[in-house]
């Protein structure tokens, strides 16, 4: 039987009077690539934030490895996020004052790794993602595709079990987006990690093992596992 690594049950989340998630239940298998699609404002990013522990749902529960995590306090939730999850957002969100290498090494330094080991690991991931030559550059000097590769290196450097990607190709052209997606999926699949891929692009969603469609905070259809 396939191992469920992350799940939600009847999750609800509101922002003021807007109900962003209405009783969402979901299971993510280890190694599975899940696409979350649907129109803007449908709740895709909110679901990703609840799954990754950035937001706490008001009702329902989120479990990681069978353990409930939505009721964890802020500090252990942050630790869980740092150790087990990798997050890639649409515009990279690299720290502008740090070099590319320092950005990638940051999650390891925050986890208490020594500077030299963190730097070596960061450099290895940057090389792996073909942006090693940009290690000393500042994020402002990178193209969109380069910044996303650096952000991907930062997400993967801790060896996460689940990678969350919110419109990771949204700021890239078709060819650049495909190249990034190829790197994201090949590196995570090779490590057996799971991916939650939020996208409004059907071409991106078609790379996933399964698709769920969120409209007005609820699933309308679960895609067939390919």
């Amino acid at each position: 039987m396939t191992e469920v690594i992350l799940s939600t049950r009847a999750v609800e989340k509101s922002f003021g009077r807007t109900q962003a998630l209405r009783g969402v239940s979901l299971e993510l298998a280890r190694g599975e690539v899940l696409a979350v699609t649907g129109p803007s404002g449908g709740g895709k990013s909110t679901l990703l934030h609840c799954l990754s522990g950035i937001l706490r749902p008001e009702a329902g529960e989120v479990r990681y490895g069978g353990q409930r995590v939505d009721d964890l306090a802020e500090a252990p939730r942050t630790r869980l996020r740092r150790r087990e999850f990798g997050i890639v957002l649409q515009f990279g969100q690299l720290v502008p004052e740090l070099t590319v290498e320092q950005n990638v090494a940051l999650p390891l330094l925050l986890e208490g790794h020594d500077r030299s080991a963190a730097r070596t690991a960061a450099r290895a991931w940057l090389d792996r993602l073909d942006v090693g030559k940009l290690a000393e550059a500042l994020p402002g000097e990178l193209s969109g595709g380069e910044a996303q590769r650096a952000a991907l290196a930062r997400a993967l450097v801790t060896g996460p079990q689940v990678v969350f990607a919110d419109e990771p190709t949204g700021a890239l052209d078709t060819v650049g987006g495909e190249a990034l997606l190829d790197v994201l999926l090949s590196t995570t699949r090779e490590r057996g990690a799971s991916v939650v891929l939020v996208t409004h692009d059907n071409r991106v969603a078609a790379h996933a093992d399964r698709e769920v469609v969120l409209v007005d905070g609820a699933f309308t259809a679960a895609g067939v596992r390919s």
Partner: protein, 194 residues
């Protein structure tokens, strides 16, 4: 015959001519590299356009017969080996001119007529049947095809084939976007009142 039927027959006739002409030009393009027989032409055509329906042999030979009749190709050789007779075709100077003219011509933007998806959805709306369900099932069907194509894209290495796949994927994506927009518009209304 009713006027509507005449219109339909005419449009089908035009579509047939357009498809016939396009295949003919594609075959001329392959023959521009050197003489070839029908089997090679079919194989090369299908390799160049992986998103398209594979050519039927009957279509290849009918097109070659027409191209020969119009002086665009000529029979270079009739090989008689152990197997069936094989006719090798070559491009004529007239065929080369036709090919060059075709390559230089800008194509008009597509007419995008109401196709089967649109007709079915609108008919369902007028009848009050399950248009939302149809759109959802159709989207699943289109996504399944999209999965096949993006998988093909990861294994196709030849530049021309990649570009042909990009074209098919872009049109499929346009259909998918239309299906999603239609579903969003239809959902609150359910049906059109006539």
């Amino acid at each position: 015959m009713l006027p509507g039927n005449i219109g339909y027959s005419l449009s089908v006739y035009i579509v047939c001519i357009v498809i016939f002409m396009s295949v003919g030009h594609a075959l001329l393009g392959i023959l521009a590299r050197g003489p070839a027989h029908g089997y090679d032409l079919k194989r090369e055509h299908d390799l160049r356009f992986p998103g398209a329906k594979p050519l039927a042999y009957g279509q290849v030979y009918a097109t070659l017969a027409r191209l020969e009749r119009d002086g665009h190709v000529e029979i270079a050789e009739t090989a008689q080996g152990g197997g069936p007779e094989r006719t090798v075709y070559a491009l004529t100077p007239e065929g080369r001119r036709t090919l060059d003219d075709w390559l230089e011509q800008v194509e008009p933007a597509g007419p995008y007529p109401a196709d089967e998806l649109v007709r079915k959805t609108i008919t369902a709306l007028h009848l009050g049947t399950d248009a939302v369900g149809f759109l959802a099932h159709q989207r699943a069907q289109h996504m399944a095809r999209m999965r096949e194509l993006v998988r093909a894209q990861t294994v196709v290495a030849e530049l021309g084939a990649q570009i042909a796949l990009d074209h098919t994927i872009a049109h499929l994506d346009a259909d998918l976007r239309w299906l999603e927009t239609a579903a969003a518009r239809v959902a609150p209304k359910g049906k059109v009142h006539t």
